[in-house]
């Protein structure tokens, strides 16, 4: 019989983040009072982070399959077939709460965790991206958090040796008490060498690999699902410290071990460490697991079973090995200077049994720990509809030229060079397009293929209309990949929302997911992996709904691509897609007019697809090499970015018909691209577009050293660049 020396009080249950009825459910399931170790295990397994209890039923609506999808959601990462026997394995994950408490280590271990998810499946990471949201710049904590998070992401990725090639940075007061740090990793494996978490075979050895276990992040997984209050800054000792050096060794050792043929199943120890990795391996394989914690390599003295089961020490893995291969595996790990220990075995009992110091500390039904976790259909209310704002009703408070200068140098739209220069974006020698464009491009091995990668979402749209906002996030990722010549293949999502226990934020979640699903279906862009981060709020103030989308696309011949830079003088600038001058929820409305209202631009997925396919075909046929998709800031900001990237000006002569100039220039209508081409080619393109009913007009010509908007004073490219490049460095050195 199992000894129980800690009385399980209601307080203790509450401290473990379990609701009274959840605890009752557990007691009923096991038929007795749990031990403290068992309480710890179930609290980790049944918290929001691991069980997806509030999100599960809504996630089921997402499209997750396509002929090229090898593995959809449910494994460590998603896997897609990119041809030539190669698979692209990728996923995005949040480390929001830890990064708020300790920005450097929080962000670093976030990167470490997602890299591990990818190489656990047998892939060598070839690129990383990150999606970041901070509080308003004036908030006393913001600069400190930016500085720490960026250094942490760089510190880990640079040392590990993966190029960080893209991402997104934004600021909003709604993130003041709850920043977002989402990291994405992309890896490459052979399609016949992919590894899964499912254990097979009874009596097979379970081995522990990597770094030693300490008391790091105990209750980290519970923390990731708990709401913040002012006292949470006291929850400090749970901070985990990352060791990118150990992770690099772990990568090399794991890949070497996989090649040796000794591995049956592998699972990294992430949130809820040993508990969730072991349960997952057993449950997936319909097997029991028995662990002897006396064998676990520990870094600290006197660690209890409870602590070992919940520790989130980084850079650790769990594997099921083929029996008899232990020695060979051990030799590989010791060569790389890493710990290796056989700590248990698979059983046919379907029980999760934990032994420590000669006693059974836990004995639980393994499948029920996952399958019987509570699932909630939480009440939700639809977000109130916002009125459509007519372009005519918005007065321009300043000239269009001044407005553009303002936007180009604004916190959200300024150059993020200060950030990505701290990331090694060139290592591995395959970065064909560096940060600063629409999507990053990395060559696949020695070519000819390449991958186009991006992360996107427009949170203010999602709040104003979750359904359209969800659609828009997917559409923008699809568009960014298309704009460099990529064929969008699949996404990973990182769903950052406030408390699901409030019907309004649950409504945002439900609405965004519907929109994401609809767009994924229409665009043939399935979800293959993702992460849900709820309870992003402080003192009842929720973040903006922020479902970050990480998109992956394929370029068949990586030498045939497009970039945003104007390359030559005298080229025709063509706008593709329809312009209605949509100002509701635009950056112009927010940052120039000081209004945050209206309905966001609707996304017509049919137009989106048709326009995108047209542009992609122009790039792939070699007719066009200068392309930029339009999003925040509309035509004007798009033009400015193209001019700055190429150091070539432009003069726009086409005046809008029946539209105020500011709505024409700054409206954020979707499904649009700007391209620049030789004037001869331009005529053909306009004709081709016209023939299939795609709106396309010539706006003007590239050339000169200034950007001239219709009827506006010329703004020199130099002045644009000065505004664009200066805000972030000045802000970070306290000079803004």
């Amino acid at each position: 019989m199992i000894r129980n020396d800690v009385a399980i009080t209601p307080e203790l249950v509450k401290e473990h983040g379990l609701k009274a009825d959840e605890y009752e459910r557990f007691v009923k399931l096991i038929g007795r009072e749990p031990t403290i170790t068992e309480l710890g295990i179930v609290s980790a397994m049944w918290n929001e982070h691991c069980s997806y209890k509030s999100s599960k039923i809504h996630l089921r609506g997402l499209p997750t399959s396509a002929p090229w999808v090898i593995q959809g959601p449910g494994e460590n990462a998603g896997v897609i077939d990119i041809g030539d026997g190669l698979a692209c394995i990728f996923k995005m994950e949040s480390h929001n709460h830890p990064s708020f408490i300790e920005p450097y280590q929080g962000a670093a271990t976030g990167v470490g965790g997602i890299l591990r998810d990818v190489f656990t499946m047998g892939a060598r990471p070839i690129a990383a991206l990150n999606f970041l949201r901070f509080g308003e710049p004036d908030h006393p904590k913001t600069a400190h958090l930016v500085s720490g998070v960026v250094a942490g992401i760089g510190g880990y990725g640079n040392s590990f040796g993966v190029p960080t090639v893209g991402g997104s940075v934004g600021f909003d007061k709604r993130y003041n008490g709850n920043i977002l740090v989402n990291a994405m990793a992309v890896g490459l494996a052979r399609t016949d060498e992919i590894w899964y978490a499912k254990a097979t075979g009874v009596g097979n050895p379970i081995v522990y690999l990597g770094s030693k276990t300490g008391r790091d992040g105990i209750h980290g997984a519970t923390m990731a699902s708990a709401e913040f209050d002012d006292a949470s800054e006291e929850k400090r000792p749970t901070v985990q410290v990352g060791d990118p050096f150990a992770e690099k060794l772990l990568l090399e050792a794991c890949l070497e071990l996989m090649k040796s043929g000794a591995v049956i199943a592998i699972q990294d120890m992430g949130a809820a460490g040993l508990t969730s990795s072991a349960v997952e391996m057993g449950a997936k394989g319909n097997l029991g697991i028995e662990l002897d914690l006396d064998k676990v390599p520990c870094r600290e003295e006197g660690m209890t079973a409870y602590e070992m089961m919940l520790s989130e020490s980084q850079e650790r893995m769990l594997m099921v090995l083929k029996p008899g291969m232990e020695k060979q595996a051990e030799a590989i790990f010791h060569k790389w200077g890493l710990d290796f220990a056989v700590i248990g075995k698979t059983t046919d009992t379907l029980r999760f049994v934990i032994k420590h110091e000669g006693e059974v500390k836990a004995d639980l039904p393994i499948k029920e720990l996952g399958d019987e976790a509570p699932v909630y259909d939480r009440p939700w209310v639809e977000s109130p509809r916002q009125p459509v704002i007519s372009a005519e009703s918005v007065k321009a408070p300043m000239s269009e030229a001044e407005a553009l200068l303002k936007l180009v140098g604004s916190p959200d739209q300024c150059s993020k060079r200060w950030v990505w220069e701290q990331y090694d974006h060139l290592i591995l020698g395959n970065t064909v397009q560096t940060p600063g464009g629409d999507a990053a491009i990395v060559r696949v091995e020695d070519g000819p293929k390449g991958l186009a990668l991006t992360t996107d979402v427009t949170p203010r749209y999602c709040e104003a209309d979750p359904f359209e906002g969800g659609k828009q996030a997917v559409a923008e990722a699809w568009r960014n990949i298309t704009a460099v010549g990529g064929l969008p293949l699949a996404i990973t999502d990182n769903l950052n929302f406030a408390s699901p226990e409030r019907p309004e934020s649950m409504g945002q979640f439900v609405g965004c997911l519907k929109g994401i699903g609809e767009a994924c279906k229409a665009l043939d862009f399935p979800v293959v992996s993702g992460n849900v981060s709820l309870y992003n709020e402080t003192n009842g103030q929720g973040i903006l709904p922020t479902p970050a989308i990480g998109g992956v696309g394929l370029i068949d011949d990586v030498t045939v691509n497009a970039s945003i830079a104007f390359k030559n003088e005298g080229e025709a600038i063509i706008l593709i897609g329809a312009t209605a001058g949509w100002l509701g929820q635009s950056l112009y409305l927010r940052d120039v007019c000081g209004r945050e209202d209206g309905a966001p631009p609707p996304v017509d997925l049919v137009q989106e697809k048709r326009n995108g396919e047209f542009v992609r075909q122009l790039i792939r046929s070699g007719q066009v090499t200068t392309v930029h998709d339009l999003s925040d800031g509309g035509i004007a900001l798009g033009l400015a970015e193209m001019a700055m990237a190429g150091d070539v000006g432009a003069e726009i002569t086409a005046m809008p018909e029946g539209l105020p100039l500011h709505a024409f220039l700054f409206g954020e209508d979707q499904a649009r691209y700007l391209i620049a081409v030789d004037e001869d080619v331009a005529a053909d393109i306009l004709y081709e577009a016209g023939a299939i009913g795609i709106p396309a007009v010539t706006l003007g010509l590239t050339g000169g050293d200034a950007l001239i908007l219709p009827g506006q004073r010329a703004i020199s490219v130099k002045q644009l660049k000065a505004a664009h490049e200066s805000w972030l460095p000045a802000y970070m050195t306290g000079k803004s």
Binding site: Q105, G214, D243
Partner: protein, 79 residues
């Protein structure tokens, strides 16, 4: 006036540096070292001769910059 600030990792916080150094010492054949934890020292020249002022400045320096009090402890000695 001068001061020395010593910043060390809190107990239980992983010290990847110390771990790597331990390993290196072993492979260099240095025997008898059972554990290493690395910290930082700052030798500080103070612009004031007033002890109370100096102490206030040092405390501010530590809390705001020199130590990451989430994972590190610090100690100040006026010398």
């Amino acid at each position: 006036m001068k001061a020395r600030v010593t910043v060390t990792l809190k107990n239980g916080v992983l010290d990847p540096q110390g771990k790597a150094i331990e390993g290196a010492l072993k492979s260099l054949g240095v025997e008898g070292i059972a554990g290493v934890r690395q910290g930082k020292v700052f030798d500080i020249e103070l612009g004031t001769a007033d002890k109370a002022q100096a102490e206030a400045a040092l405390k501010a320096a530590c809390e705001k910059l020199l130590a990451n009090t989430v994972i590190e402890n610090y100690r100040v000695e006026l010398t």
